[in-house]
Symmetry: C2
Subunit: 302 residues, 2 copies
């Protein structure tokens, strides 16, 4: 009774196509329909056999669904929700995978009054984009955060939670506002900073681009990975989670100024104390299974 | 004639012990002597059979060497160089592996007048520390930068270059000042920023430590790796490369302010344009063999 039988995925990029592959692998009896606004992506989806049916419009993709998952940039979620409103079957549950949640929740509520809404955010991804970048194991062991409204249908929430757990994810629930503050520090600010430093490096006149690439193993290369993420997705994340991102950025800037001052004044003890306390966080992440325990992420070394 | 026959490694942490292992593997005829100021590390070096002889003092470690490599934090390089000065054989070449070079070059020159000096910086490492963290392949395919003085003995420079190439590294030469500016952006600033954001996250009251760990796969975990690096080493790097780090930090802060402003004023085009141009850098790094080509550094996924 908790299981969905007909799932529709709107948006077949990295997340949508991973979701399709994961559903295929873990729930082989589910009838999968997909749609993407980009005709080239739809063709790729057919070629890769990502779903049972590729629909030409978002509306046509949802007519028989009991679960619709919007896997589009958060900036267009309201618009896409409006496109499917007339075609949604009664009792169909609508969810999404957006990286910010307060704005998404209100956009969905405005576009789909009376529909069972369970906004979700699987905290998983890679720096790649598009339907060919997805893979079935993307969500295994990762967290999926549900941010249902207080008056959300509890059965719908249970069903969406069971859906993600069946894909190997771990499920947590919180308010959209708390989600947006947590993700501002664990995801949005890191991306903003990575995008910034990669831009700073590429604008230097006296240090050549080729030197930046050559000596990137000193630390810089780590930042280039997330700075290669999808620009449309991230533009929308920052615009939709503005308040929380700006607040975290302010705290970060204050902390950076403190270290800057310690460097300028040669305060080695302050630097050491700061650098010493951050090690425990890494240990915690590895212990919780949220990162590869091998040194250097296990990369490049035998 | 270019080869060294008796190599002494002072400091047996991650880099020194990796060097010992690499020499053992690639130059089995070399007689290796090692020393570390920490008696516990010396015991570990004996237990792991890292070198042929473990000496109790730095001076005793160099009496028969034709190459000495100082693998200690840059803040104590001058002091360690002074400790070995009286025991250095004539014609012995002295090098190091420090991450900043202008300060190191002058500290070495002051402590060891008349000695053939070839300061070096292998751009390689992991977030681990200590003699057990090292491994022979650490330098394979990485760059080693030599920063000899203008009047350095060209044969000594050639011999040190050949030494690193024999360990699998690629060798480049530049002035210590240029090195320090290049590494300020490719290594020192990334570490400073990573240390900062991990500190910012751990100081939040409203977002719990456990939430930071749980949802770190959204990007934050990438920063925790380099923020787990050795605090003594990094304190010394920032103190010794102060000018270049502060200059790069200033540029970074200006660029961050520009993105901050774009977020505040909802300038999506400015955000998109910035995020779009940073992808090419990642591609270049992967094409140059300086990072793992697989998505997400290849970690955690089958």
């Amino acid at each position: 009774m908790l299981l969905f039988a007909r799932v529709s995925i709107i948006g077949l990029g990295l997340i949508g196509s991973s979701l399709a592959r994961a559903v295929r692998e873990r729930m082989p009896t589910v009838r999968l329909t997909g749609h993407d606004a980009d005709a080239g992506v739809r063709e790729t989806a057919v070629r890769l056999d990502l779903v049972d049916d590729v629909a030409d419009t978002a509306g046509a993709a949802v007519t028989a669904a009991d679960l619709v998952i919007l896997c589009v940039p958060v900036g267009v979620i309201g618009q896409v929700a409006a496109e499917i409103a007339a075609d949604l079957p009664a009792d169909c549950v609508v969810s999404d995978v957006g990286s910010s949640k307060a704005g998404v929740a209100s956009a969905l509520a405005r576009a789909l009054p009376g529909v069972a809404l369970v906004p979700a955010h699987p905290v998983a991804g890679t720096e790649r984009s598009g339907p060919e970048a997805g893979f079935a194991g993307l969500f295994a062991g990762r967290w999926c955060i549900l941010t249902p409204a207080e008056d959300a249908d509890p059965i719908a929430v249970e069903r969406v939670a069971a859906f993600w757990e069946a894909l190997g994810a771990r499920v947590e629930r919180m308010t959209p506002e708390h989600h947006d503050r947590v993700l501002a520090i664990t995801s949005h600010l890191p991306h903003l900073i990575a995008y910034t430093i990669v831009g700073t490096a590429s604008d230097l006149a006296e240090v050549t681009r080729s030197e930046v690439l050559q000596y990137s193993a000193g630390g810089f290369r780590d930042f280039t990975r997330i700075a290669a993420s999808d620009p449309t997705m991230w533009r929308d994340v920052f615009l939709s989670n503005r308040e929380a991102v700006l607040d975290m950025l302010q705290r970060f800037s204050e902390d950076l100024s403190q270290l800057q001052r310690a460097i300028r004044w040669g305060d080695g003890d302050a630097l050491f104390d700061h650098f010493d306390k951050t090690r425990a966080i890494r240990r915690g992440i590895v212990e919780q299974g949220q990162d590869d325990p091998r040194p250097d992420f296990g990369r490049g070394h035998p």
